[in-house]
Amino acid sequence: MSEYDDLSPVLVVLLNNARDLARARDEGWYRIPVHRAPPRLAAEYLAFYQTRAFGDQAYSVRYLAAVRRIHVLPRVQLLPDEPNHPRAREEYYKIEIGPLEALPRPVPSRALRRITFIPTTLGQLLTAEEINDLWWRDDPQQRLWLALRSTGLPVEYRFETPQPEGDVVVDFALFLPQGRLAVLCDTSDGRNDLRETRLPDYDLAATGWEVLRFTNAELHADLAGCVAMVLAAAHRLGALPGQGGHE
């Protein structure tokens, strides 16, 4: 990793067990079902988030590998020893990779959380202190993330929460002593056709979230004001003295 391009796209993927790690390391490939592939699949590198099965190395990203090829194959061709698997005919992306390289510094999850995929860049991966630093963000969200992180509040980025009509992604989730705060960003001002589908705020409220919503224009024009609103709500929900820097 002596010479690298900061902006090289990286996809962080899950490693659920030692067998998948062995496949990546020894056979040089990783698989993703086509129907579950993320909106941003293509990348120059894969990095691997290790789940609970990895004991003292769990909940962290420790390895990456260069992407060589990306092919679409039925599962039965990927795993010929499992011809009777219920998804044997289903299409998968087979991502062929080069040798696994250990990151100079593992990237842990403070909250030991479950993730699915994280699109990021090599520069972010190599400088991240924790997994919330990894997500590629539209500029206003990046500015809000940096501002919220500097407050010391316990913020999780892109937190998935189950709702009756399917998982909702909360842009910034704060878990506080007296409640949960969801901060949502409408980053598609003026382009409603790009707006992500979200459950109405009251549905989140009905499942125990307090909701704040900011538009791109608000974040551009008055970031400090937006952060102040988050801090006020966080303190209302029992953020501890010292968290948020206002005490």
Binding site: A66, R68, D193
Partner: protein
């Protein structure tokens, strides 16, 4: 009427248009196709129905020294078919526009042969993606060598020598300094090649003084009745430009302001020019419009809003 844009996506950060790694890092068409798949999903979300793909989708495919890259179309055959299926599912019209280094009419036989190879490869990719005949490879006539008419005739001859797979996909566009619509029509009369009308090129280079509607109608008529033709539309950049010049007295380089060149593309499309263009073409057959603007998809999305605001009667025609 579909609106499209070329190659680079600006409306969603992080989307790349091809595997741009250097040869030492073994870039591959299959990885480019995964980038393309991500772009297709973005186009669908944004409601954009036409897109020009990067000409570098298959890196080093025809490079004479790097033979290890020459078999990518076979190696990624299934992946080309899969991404083509996705394009059809999402109802996307796709095209290629090879770079200015692809010169079919060059008197240098080596360059002409390499250019033909590139055109054939891009046509083959469209074929392997299973796309209809409206998915085309757009090319300019090329350079003026040994006289304008000889260069024009050499293009026609080079076109006739291409294999059927390339002839069926290749279309020719008028340019802004050498070969006008009258020239491309001359080539069409000899080869039946379909023509792309480019409005800004026509304004910049129209020595025959063909009226715009007449030139546009003639180009549209080169497409079979059952096939939707396509045109290119752009607005000229009007800002002053900064250039470097050497001071004749001191010999030092200095920056000077110069007037714009009307061949350069603007960031966004001029909505009133576009609306006037659509009104001029109102009585002609329907066509799709590839927008060429530096702000890419952002320019397309803005143009849609502008048309809805300033010419709501035309807005329904734009997909």
């Amino acid at each position: 009427m579909r609106l499209g844009f070329a190659v680079k996506v600006l409306g969603q950060g992080g989307l790349r248009e091809n595997d741009s790694r250097r040869w030492q890092n073994n870039p591959h068409l299959s990885v480019s196709l995964a980038y393309l798949r991500d772009i297709f999903h973005y186009l669908h979300r944004a409601g954009i129905g036409m897109y020009r793909m990067s000409s570098d989708l298959a890196p080093y495919l025809t490079h004479p020294e790097y033979t290890q890259f020459h078999h990518q179309l076979d190696e990624a055959a299934e992946d080309l078919a899969a991404v083509g299926r996705l394009a059809r599912e999402l109802d996307l019209r796709l095209s290629f526009h090879p770079s200015q280094y692809i010169v079919l009419n060059s008197p240098d036989e080596g360059l002409a042969a390499r250019s033909a190879q590139d055109v054939i490869a891009q046509a083959e990719m469209l074929e392997r993606m299973g796309l209809g005949a409206e998915a085309v490879v757009v090319l300019h006539v090329g350079g003026v060598y040994e006289g304008h008419e000889a260069a024009r005739a050499r293009f026609a001859a080079a076109f006739e020598r291409l294999p059927a797979i390339a002839r069926q996909r290749l279309v020719v566009e008028n340019d802004d300094v050498r070969f006008s619509v009258a020239d491309t029509l001359w080539i069409h009369q000899r080869t039946s090649v379909r023509l792309i009308f480019d409005n800004l090129h026509h304004h910049n280079h129209n020595p025959q003084a063909l009226p715009l509607r007449e030139a546009l109608a003639a180009c549209l008529a080169t497409w079979p009745a059952a096939m939707q033709p396509k045109v290119h539309f752009s607005s000229p950049r009007t800002e002053m430009v900064t250039a470097e010049q050497r001071d004749p007295a001191t010999g030092k380089r200095q920056q000077v302001l110069q007037p714009p060149r009307w061949t350069n593309h603007s960031d966004y499309l001029h909505p009133f020019e576009f609306i006037a263009f659509l009104r001029e073409a109102a009585a002609l057959r329907s066509f799709d419009v590839m927008l060429e603007a530096k702000a890419k998809d952002l320019a397309l999305l803005r143009l849609r809003q502008d048309v809805a605001r300033y010419a709501p009667d035309l807005a329904e025609r734009l997909a």
